[in-house]
Symmetry: C2
C-alpha cells in the first residue's frame, strides 16, 4: 500500500517528466527546420511554406534565435483552445472535433462528481474509524483513510455512498444524453452541409450475383434502371487491383532507393555500388543507380501491363460497384432498402467517403463473411485470455537457463556479467512489451480479415476489441492477481453473485496503483505525445537521405492521425477508473480530471497543427463511445454492490439494484432515440438539400462529377504519375482528397484565425 508520500514522489516525478517534454517541445517546435514535423497540417492545406527556403540569414532558416519566442513556451495551449468549434470542423473535419468532445465529456462528468465526492464522501470517510477499529493486518495508508475502506462494517454511513452512487449515475446519464443529442445534431448538420460530396449521392452495392449473359457493369446498370428507374444515374465497378497496388508500391520503394543513391553520388562523387542478393548481403556487385534504373523500367512496363489487364479482363471486376443517383433522396432510399428477395445479394449501404474505402475487402461473399466473423471471434477469445502462454514460453526461452539449453555454444558469451544482467533484466519484459506494442496492429489485421469495407469501420472494430482486451487484462488483470486465464478459471468456479464481491473487495486496495498508472500513462504519456519523437527522427532521416525536391519533402512528412483504434479505448479506461472509484476512493478523481484537461489541450493542438485525418466518417463512432461509457457506469454500480455486500451493509445494498436496470434502460432509450442518425439518412434532409440545389443550380450536370469519384487509388496515382491526369480526376481531388477548407485562396499569406488571433502558431513563427 502506497502512502501519501509515495504518491507525492510519483506525482513529482511524472510532473517533472511532463514539464521536460513540454519544454523540449516548446524549444523544438520553434526551430524552423522542425516546422514540417510540428505543423504538417498547415503544409498539407497549402497554408504554410518552408521557412527554410525563404529569405533571410542562413542560420535563421534552421534555428530560431528570437529569445522572446522561448519565454512564452506554453503559449500553444491557449492557442489550441481558442479556435472555435465550427472553424475546427472546417479545418479538421467532424471526426476530429467529436473525438475531442470525448475528453470534454470526461471533464463534464468528472468535475462535478469530484466536487460532490470531496464535499460529501471524503468527510464521511475521513471521520470514520473503520481502519483503526478493524485491526486488520493490512497496513492502511493515508489514502485509505479517505476511502470507503475506513467505514465500519454495517455502518449507516453507507447510505451516503448509495445516495452518491445515484447522483453520479444520474449526472453521468444526463451528460451522456445531452452529448448524444449534440453529436447527432452535429452529424446531421455536417451531412447536410452546403458542400456537395460524392458519397451523398452514392451507394455501395456488394455481393452482386454472377450472371452468365452480362458483364457486372451491364448487370448493375440494368438492375438499377429497372428497380430505381427515376433515380439511377451512373455507376462504377470495382476492380481487383490488389496486385497492381503491390507493384506500384514496389516501384515507389525502388525510386526511393534510386534517389538515395543519386544523393550519395552527389555528395561523394563516387558511383555507389550494391549487391543484388538477399538484403544486399550477397550476390554480384553492380552499379546501384544503373541497377535501380533498369529495375524501375522493368517494373513500369509490368505495371502498364497489369493495369491493362485489370481494366480489360472481366475477371478482374469484383462483384461490387458504386452506384450513383440523380438525387440525395434516391441514394438515401437505395441505401436503406432491401433490393431483392435474397438478402445476401445486391446488398446496399451508404458508400463511405472515397478516402475511407478499404478496397481489398469489397468482394467477400456473405457466407464467407459470417465464417470469418466466427473464426475471428474464437481467435479473439484466445488472444484475450491466453496471450500470456506464448509470451511465457518466450520468456522461458529468453532466460539464462533457456538460452544455455537451446544454444550451449552461446554459454561463454552469456557468462559475461553485463550481458547476463541485460538478459535477465530486460529480455523477458521485452517479449511482453513487444506484444503490447504490436497488439493494435494484430487487432487491425483481425478486423481486416473479418471483411469490413471501410477504414473507419475497421478502426471502430479494432477499438472495441482493444477495449475488451484492456478491460480484461489491464483493469481486471491488475485488480485480481494471476493471468487472465487463471482469472477466467477462478470466475467459472465461483458463484455468479460472488463476482462483484471479488472485484469489489479488491477495488479500494488498488487505488494507489491506478493513481500511479494514471500519472505515468495519462500525464507523462500525453505530454510525450506532443513531442512526436518518432516522426521527428524519421523526418530528419528522410530529409537527409531522400529529399531532393519540394514534393519529396512533402512526402517525408508523417502527420499521422488520431488513431481511433488505440486512442479511444485508452480514454475509455479513464472513464472506467473514474466511475468505479468515484464512490469508493474519491482521491482518484483529481488525477483523472488532470488527465482529461491535459489530453484535451494536447490533442486539440495536435488536431489543429499536426494530424491529417485519413478519412471522414461523420462521427460514426459515437454510438460506440456512448455504449462503452454506459458499460463503465454499470460496472461501477455492480462493483459498488459487491463492495457493500462485503461491508455487511445489508439494509442499504438492495437499493442499488435499481441502478443498473435504469442505466441499461437509459442506454436502450438513447439507442432508439439517436442511433438511427448514425446509420440512416433521413429522407426529409435529403429532399430539402435536393430541392435547394435544384433551385440554386438548375442546370447542374452531376454525371461528370460522379463519374470518377470512386476510382481505386492505384489508378489515380498511376494516372497522375503518367501525367495523364484527367480534368475530372483533378476536380474530384480538390473536392474531396484533402478536407476542404474555405481558406484555399490564402496560400502563403495566412491570416490569423478569426478568434485565435495573435497567438496563432503561424504568427508565432513570424515575430
Amino acid at each position: 500500500m502506497a502512502t501519501l508520500g509515495d504518491i507525492a514522489v510519483a506525482a513529482g516525478l511524472n510532473i517533472l517528466s511532463a514539464v521536460i517534454f513540454f519544454v523540449a517541445f516548446a524549444i523544438l517546435r520553434l526551430q524552423p527546420f522542425n516546422d514540417r514535423v510540428y505543423f504538417p497540417k498547415w503544409y498539407l492545406k497549402g497554408l504554410r511554406t518552408d521557412p527554410v527556403h525563404g529569405g533571410g540569414a542562413f542560420v535563421r532558416k534552421f534555428v530560431n534565435l528570437d529569445w522572446r519566442a522561448y519565454l512564452k513556451f506554453l503559449n500553444w495551449m491557449p492557442a489550441a483552445i481558442r479556435m472555435p468549434e465550427p472553424e475546427l470542423i472546417d479545418h479538421a473535419g467532424l471526426d476530429s472535433v467529436v473525438y475531442l468532445r470525448i475528453y470534454l465529456i470526461g471533464l463534464k462528468i468528472f468535475v462535478p462528481i469530484a466536487f460532490l465526492a470531496w464535499a460529501v464522501l471524503v468527510p464521511v470517510n475521513w471521520t470514520s474509524t473503520g481502519l483503526e477499529a478493524g485491526g486488520n493486518n493490512i497496513t492502511s495508508s493515508d489514502i485509505d483513510k479517505l476511502s470507503i475502506s475506513n467505514i465500519h462494517r454495517g455502518s449507516e454511513r453507507f447510505w451516503g455512498h448509495i445516495v452518491m452512487a445515484y447522483a453520479f449515475t444520474f449526472w453521468t446519464c444526463y451528460v451522456l444524453l445531452k452529448e448524444y443529442e449534440k453529436v447527432a445534431a452535429m452529424r446531421l448538420q455536417f451531412l447536410a452541409a452546403e458542400k456537395r460530396r460524392p458519397d451523398q449521392f452514392t451507394v455501395l452495392v456488394k455481393n452482386i450475383p454472377p450472371d452468365p449473359d452480362e458483364s457486372t457493369s451491364e448487370l448493375v446498370e440494368h438492375f438499377f434502371l429497372v428497380n430505381h428507374p427515376d433515380n439511377y444515374l451512373t455507376h462504377q465497378v470495382v476492380y481487383n487491383a490488389n496486385k497492381l497496388a503491390k507493384l506500384v508500391k514496389k516501384k515507389k520503394k525502388l525510386q526511393n532507393w534510386l534517389v538515395y543513391y543519386q544523393n550519395k553520388l552527389e555528395r561523394t562523387s563516387k558511383r555507389p555500388e550494391m549487391r543484388t542478393g538477399f538484403l544486399g548481403c550477397c550476390g554480384n556487385k553492380v552499379d546501384a543507380i544503373d541497377y535501380h534504373n533498369t529495375e524501375i523500367d522493368k517494373l513500369s512496363k509490368e505495371i502498364a501491363l497489369e493495369r491493362d489487364k485489370v481494366t480489360n479482363d472481366p475477371k478482374s471486376v469484383m462483384p461490387a460497384a458504386f452506384v450513383s443517383f440523380k438525387s440525395r433522396w434516391g441514394a438515401a432510399v437505395c441505401a436503406q432498402t432491401q433490393q431483392t428477395r435474397n438478402p445476401t445479394i445486391w446488398l446496399t449501404e451508404w458508400a463511405p467517403e472515397p478516402r475511407d474505402v478499404y478496397w481489398s475487402n469489397l468482394a467477400i461473399p456473405y457466407v464467407s463473411l459470417t465464417v470469418r466473423r466466427l473464426i475471428m471471434g474464437v481467435a479473439f477469445f484466445f488472444l484475450t485470455f491466453f496471450f500470456m502462454i506464448p509470451i511465457a514460453i518466450v520468456q522461458t526461452l529468453a532466460s539464462i537457463e533457456g538460452i544455455e539449453k537451446a544454444a550451449p555454444w552461446l554459454k561463454p558469451l552469456i557468462s559475461v556479467p553485463f550481458i547476463k544482467s541485460f538478459i535477465q533484466g530486460f529480455l523477458p519484459g521485452i517479449a511482453l512489451k513487444l506484444f503490447l506494442i504490436f497488439l493494435p496492429t494484430i487487432l487491425m489485421i483481425m478486423s481486416k480479415f473479418e471483411g469490413f469495407g471501410s477504414i473507419s469501420s475497421l478502426e471502430r472494430r479494432s477499438a472495441s476489441r482493444y477495449y475488451i482486451f484492456n478491460f480484461v487484462n489491464l483493469f481486471l488483470g491488475n485488480i485480481l492477481t494471476g493471468t487472465a486465464f487463471q482469472q477466467l478459471d477462478t470466475f467459472i468456479h465461483q458463484p455468479a453473485n460472488k463476482y462483484p464481491i471479488i472485484i469489489g473487495t479488491a477495488i479500494p486496495l488498488k487505488a494507489s496503483f491506478f493513481i500511479t498508472y494514471i500519472m505515468v500513462d495519462g500525464w507523462a504519456g500525453i505530454a510525450g505525445e506532443v513531442l512526436m519523437l518518432k516522426p521527428l527522427i524519421i523526418y530528419h532521416l528522410k530529409n537527409f537521405f531522400l529529399v531532393k525536391t519540394e514534393k519529396d519533402r512533402e512526402e517525408a512528412m508523417d502527420p499521422g492521425s488520431i488513431g481511433f483504434n488505440t486512442g479511444e479505448p485508452r480514454i475509455q479506461l479513464y472513464f472506467l477508473l473514474g466511475l468505479v472509484y468515484a464512490a469508493v476512493t474519491p482521491t482518484v478523481l483529481p488525477f483523472i480530471i488532470i488527465f482529461f484537461a491535459l489530453a484535451y489541450v494536447v490533442f486539440r493542438h495536435q488536431i489543429i497543427n499536426v494530424y491529417n485525418q485519413e478519412y471522414e466518417s461523420g462521427a460514426a463512432f459515437w454510438p460506440d463511445v456512448h455504449f462503452r461509457i454506459v458499460v463503465a457506469l454499470v460496472v461501477s454500480q455492480i462493483v459498488l454492490m459487491g463492495l457493500l455486500t462485503t461491508k455487511e451493509a445489508a439494509s442499504s445494498t438492495p437499493f442499488l439494484i435499481a441502478l443498473p436496470i435504469l442505466t441499461i434502460w437509459f442506454h436502450r432509450y438513447c439507442r432508439g432515440r439517436f442511433e438511427p442518425a448514425f446509420v440512416k439518412y433521413p429522407l426529409q434532409e435529403a429532399m430539402m438539400k435536393d430541392t435547394l440545389e435544384r433551385a440554386t443550380e438548375p442546370n447542374l450536370n452531376l454525371k461528370p462529377y460522379l463519374q470518377n469519384a470512386y476510382v481505386h487509388p492505384v489508378f489515380k496515382e498511376s494516372l497522375e504519375e503518367d501525367d495523364d491526369v484527367e480534368v475530372m480526376s483533378e476536380k474530384w481531388e480538390a473536392d474531396s482528397v484533402t478536407v476542404p477548407t474555405k481558406r484555399q485562396s490564402r496560400r502563403n499569406t495566412p491570416l490569423p484565425s478569426r478568434i485565435s488571433g495573435a497567438s496563432s502558431p503561424i504568427q508565432n513563427l513570424e515575430p
Copy 2:
C-alpha cells in the same frame, strides 16, 4: 421412479381417453345440429348452408341416422391431410399453413433422430451395467436401463453420446435451415401474390408531431407531398374511437338481451319483467322489453352524437395515419426509410392488414413506449419468479385454518366433513389452476400495455413471454425442486459452471415424469382439442336463447383461431424435451413423435374446418419459432455437457464445447440470411408487381380502392347497421375481411376439393 409397467398403465389410460374423445367427436360432428360448431369455417366462407333448414324429414335435420357414416369414424384424419398446401393457403391463409409446418418440423427432426438414437444409443446404454455396478441407493427403473444413467462413470462409451450429439445438432440445424428457406420463400411468394391488398400500398405513420397551424390530416398530406412527391397518393387519419367502440359494444349487449326477452315472450306469452338495479337483483321492476327498447334508443342517440364528435372534433384525431402510395415500390421505400432527423417522430412501418390493426395502441408516444417496456420487463420478471407468493397466500387463506381465522362465523359450516374435504383437497389447487388458466390473458394484457400496434405482434410478444414462463416454471421447475424463486436463489449462489451440472444430473431422473406429462398434455389434450366442448356448449346455449334470424346464428358461431400466443410455446416445450432427452433418454422420443403426428392431423383438420384466423401476418412469427428451437438445441447441449461432467467423462466432454458455439453461429447466419424477408419488403419484388399491374390494368384508379381501407371497425359496423353502407366499404370487405377464396361462386353447391375428393368433410354429410 416409474417402472415400465407404470408408464404402460399411464399410456393405456391416456390412449383410452384420447380414443373416447375421438369417438365422441366422430359422433357429434355427424349430427346436423352441430354442424355450425364443427364446420364454421365453411359457413363463414359461404360454402355451406344449414342442413337444419334444408328439405327432408324433421328428425334428419338434427340427428344423422345413416349408420354407415359412423363406421368410418376416423375418416376425417386422411381427409384433413389430403388438402394440398397451396389450396390450404388459399383456404386459411399463410399463417395457418406455416403454423402447421411447426408440427411437421417436429416430425422431420425427431423421426430420424429417434431412429438413430434407438439404433445406436439404446444398445450402448442397455448393454452397460452402470446401474447394477453403481450400487447407488436410488431404485432404478427399466427406463433408466435404456438411458445414459446405465453407463459406468468415466466410461469410453460416452464417445457414442458425443458423436450422437453432433449428429443430432447437425440434423436439426439442417432441417431448420431448409425450413427457414422454405418459409421465407412462401412468405415472399404470398406477399407478391396476384391479389391486390390495401396493406401492400400502405404505410402506418406513427408519432406525427403536433403542429399549431395545420390539422393532422393537412400536416400528413403536406409532409408526404414534399418528401415523397412522386409516390404519395392518399392517407387516412386514425380517430380515437375507443369510447365509441365501448358504446357500440354496450348497445350490442342490450340488443342481445332484447332478443332474449322477446324469445321468452314468444314462448311463454307473458311479458317478461326485470329489475333495473345491480345485476338485476334490486331496483324497480319494469317491463324488460320496453326497458331495453328505450335504453337502446338512448344509446343509439348517444352513439350518433359520439360519432359526430369523433369525426368532427380535431382533438379526437390521433397522431397516427395510414398513408397510401401510388405503387408498392413507393410504400416499400417509405416503410423502410427514416423520414426526419428525429427518429422518434414520423415513424413509418408497413401497415398491418386492416383486420390486424390494434387501434387503441396507435397513439402512444416514443418515450412512453420505452418506459412501458421497462415497467413490463420488471413486472414480467416478478411474475415469472415470484408468482408463487400470492398463490401461496391464497392457498393459506383457503385452508381450513385460514378460513377459521378470517371468518370464525363460518366454522360450523366447514366442520361438515364433505365441505371440509372439498376445501382441503380442491381449493388450494384451484388457485394455481385459475392462475395458469388466466396466465395467457395476463400476458396479453401486458403486451397490450407495452403498446404494440397490431394483433399479430401482440400475440408474438405474449408467446415469447409464455415460452419463458414455461421454460422456467414447467421445465426447470419440474427438473429442480422448489419454486422458481428458490431456484433463482440456488443458481445465484452456485458457480456458473455448476448450472449445467445441476440440471444435467436431474435430467435423466425426470424422464418418466415428462413421459407422463407428454401423454396427458400432448395426447389426451390434443384429442380434447378436436372435440371443442366449450364452443359446442356455448353455441347451443346461444342457439336456444338468442338466435332468431340466420344472421344471429352466424354470430352465435365461435370458430376461434389458432391462438399463437398459447399454442406455439406449448409446441416449443416438446422441442425442448425432445432435444434434451434425445441423447440422454431416447425412450422419450417416440412419445414426442406421436404428439407431433397427432397434433399435426388434429390442427390441420381444425384449420380446414373450424378456425377462422383473425388476421394474416404472412408468417411473420417464423423468426421467433426458429430462434426458440435453436435455444432448445443449445440448452440440450449444455445439459449434456453438465451430465457428462458428473459422469467423469473428462476426456470426451471438452469435445462438446464447440457445439453451442457452432449452433449460435448458425443462428446468426440464418438471421442475417433470412430474417430480412420477414421485416423488409424487397424493392425488386415491389417493382415487378407494379410493372405487371401497370401492364395489365393501365387505367386502374387506386385512390377509391385505398380511400377507406383503414377505417376503424366501429365506423364500419355502424355504417352497416344504419344501412349506410358505402360501395367502397363493401368492396373492401369482400376483398379483405374474410380470407379471399377462389370458390366464392360455388355457394350452396360445394364441389369436392380437387384432391381431397370423395372424403371431403362436406361430402361426408351428404351420403
